[in-house]
């Protein structure tokens, strides 16, 4: 199990296409996606709902295995789930019958001594700022706190890539903003590659080194927009607003421009 904490690897997505069979019809979801994510990079993926962006993430995680194209992590062709790719879902998905520390410990494999386990779990609870809740049960925590536990659980194996599938989508606006700052802090501390799927344009810009804009179904990577803004980013700065405008126009050009000028 030496691949854990091995040298950082590039995530390469090559010619990825996916279609679902519904009754006798095929619905094409993803069409020929190419993407390369360098080690330590934070990439946001944004697209209209139902465009298959979550499916893309599930394929990288190894949960979906029926597709055309290839996904590599370093030289390894991805064929199924492995602990070198961690995932956080929209819901925290904590096990209600386990305490917070045991939920985090569940992420770890068998190859750790009890002492090591304890230390790693404590470290990660510290990282997400929930040390004092170690003995609590999930239902005693707020939604935002539960999601932080879920992030800790995904991080205990020191994954090469952390996949975030609309992780803050179910949280209220205030909690979401603090969680976005939190994830940047964790990312800077852990230096993992992060792939984030979101439908929140501001979130995508605030977090990502690059923003991948996907089109409607069948989705293609319509534009990849680099965000060269220093962190911490100011959502109201001129540059930020400019980027937001670019993405807006990308998004709505094919449907309608929602803020068309009328005199």
């Amino acid at each position: 199990m030496s691949m854990i904490a091995a040298s950082p690897q590039t995530l390469t997505i090559k010619g990825l296409s996916k279609r679902f069979q519904i009754d006798n019809d095929f619905v094409e979801v993803l069409n020929d996606i190419d993407l390369e994510v360098t080690p330590g990079e934070f990439v946001s993926i944004i697209g209209p709902s139902g465009c298959g962006k979550s499916t893309l993430l599930r394929m990288v995680a190894g949960l979906e295995q029926e597709y055309q194209g290839e996904i590599y992590l370093g030289d390894e062709l991805i064929k199924g789930p492995r602990v070198n790719r961690g995932m956080v879902f929209q819901e925290a998905r904590l096990y209600p019958w386990l305490t917070i520390e045991n939920n985090v410990a569940f992420g770890l494999g068998h190859h750790h001594s009890a002492e090591e386990k304890k230390r790693i779990v404590a470290e990660h609870l510290e990282l997400v700022g929930l040390s004092s809740f170690a003995k609590a049960y999930p239902h005693q925590l707020s939604g935002g706190m539960q999601q932080r536990v879920s992030i800790a659980r995904a991080l205990v194996n020191r994954p090469q890539v952390l996949l975030l599938d609309e992780p803050f989508g179910a949280l209220d606006a205030m909690t979401r903003i603090s969680m976005q700052q939190e994830i940047i802090r964790i990312w800077e501390a852990e230096k993992t590659t992060i792939l984030l799927v979101t439908h929140d344009i501001d979130e995508a810009i605030f977090l990502g080194d690059r923003v991948v804009v996907m089109s409607k179904r069948p989705a293609t990577a319509k534009a990849v927009i680099p965000i060269d803004l220093p962190r911490p980013r100011d959502r109201n700065s001129y540059e930020f607003v400019q980027v937001r405008k670019t993405i807006y126009s990308n998004f709505f050009s094919e449907v309608e421009v929602p803020f068309s000028y009328s005199i």
């Binding site: 995680a61 190894g62 949960l63 789930p81 492995r82 602990v83 790719r85 961690g86 995932m87 879902f89 819901e91 998905r93 096990y95 209600p96 019958w97 386990l98 569940f106 992420g107 494999g109 049960y137 999930p138 239902h139 194996n157």
Partner: protein, 259 residues
């Protein structure tokens, strides 16, 4: 003490109504409106109850019945969990057994009693088997339901984390199914308790069902009634004990605390 006080305030009616009924019954008996040979007064029944407790007769018979339930239920529930897990998880197993189980399951436990008496006589064996059959089905159904309705999202988390089948079963599937399994166990013990009385009524030389039948032959209606009512009281007691156990074991189950 405070707890008992607030419980009393909330559930006063639960006590008042039975007391009221008992007094009407008592009064009707005193006034000679009810024939004592058919329905003795509550005070007379209470007197017999005290006598039966004092002589130890009631508790000996109840004890024998409870022991039978305990043995039969353990066997039935164990097999129910074992087979239930296989049926829920192994598709081939499920298909192989579907027709057989479909035919066997609707048979009332009581219908097995004559068969078992012919096979095993009227000893302990036949009674314990009846109880085991009765509790087997309820536990089996709840285990299968419980496991099959485990949230797929929980399973995905374990898949992502590369957990093996054993960990998946013991750490995720079974805990998630435990509330449903527990409900099945409670219903199962209820069924077991009913089956034992039925078996003892038909053929036995001891147990609470036997005590009732024997008293009927001697036309001791008061003893019969004490026996019948003690079955109900024991049932309530068993159910409460299980509820306590469930609260202990399933501390995490929020739904439980609210009810």
């Amino acid at each position: 003490m405070k707890k008992i006080g607030s419980w009393l305030r909330e559930n006063l009616l639960a006590l008042v109504v039975p007391i009221l009924l008992l007094s009407v019954w008592e009064a009707a008996g005193q006034l000679g409106w009810i024939r004592a040979a058919l329905l003795p007064r509550p005070s007379a029944i209470a007197q017999v109850l005290v006598e039966l407790i004092a002589s130890g007769e009631l508790f000996i018979h109840l004890g024998i019945s409870i022991l039978r339930v305990g043995q039969g239920f353990l066997i039935g529930a164990f097999l129910g969990v074992l087979v239930g897990v296989q049926i829920a998880l192994v598709k081939k197993f499920r298909i192989a057994l579907s027709l057989i189980f479909g035919v066997l399951r609707p048979i009332p436990v009581i219908a097995w009693i004559p068969v078992l008496i012919l096979w095993m006589g009227i000893d302990e064996g036949s009674k314990i088997t009846v109880i085991a059959i009765g509790s087997f089905w309820t536990v089996l159904v709840s285990v299968v339901q419980g496991i099959r309705s485990v949230d797929k999202k929980y399973l995905e988390v374990a898949t992502i984390l590369e957990k093996d089948q054993k960990t998946l079963l013991t750490k995720v599937v079974l805990p998630a199914a435990l509330p449903a399994i527990f409900t099945g166990v409670r219903v199962g013990i209820d069924v077991a308790w009913r089956s034992v009385v039925a078996a003892e009524l038909i053929a036995a030389a001891s147990g609470i069902g036997y005590m009732i039948m024997y008293a009927r032959e001697l036309s001791q209606i008061d003893v019969v009634l004490v026996g019948v009512l003690s079955i109900g009281l024991t049932g309530v007691l068993i159910d409460q004990l299980l509820l306590l156990l469930e609260k202990r074991l399933l501390k995490w189950n929020v739904n439980l605390h609210e009810s």
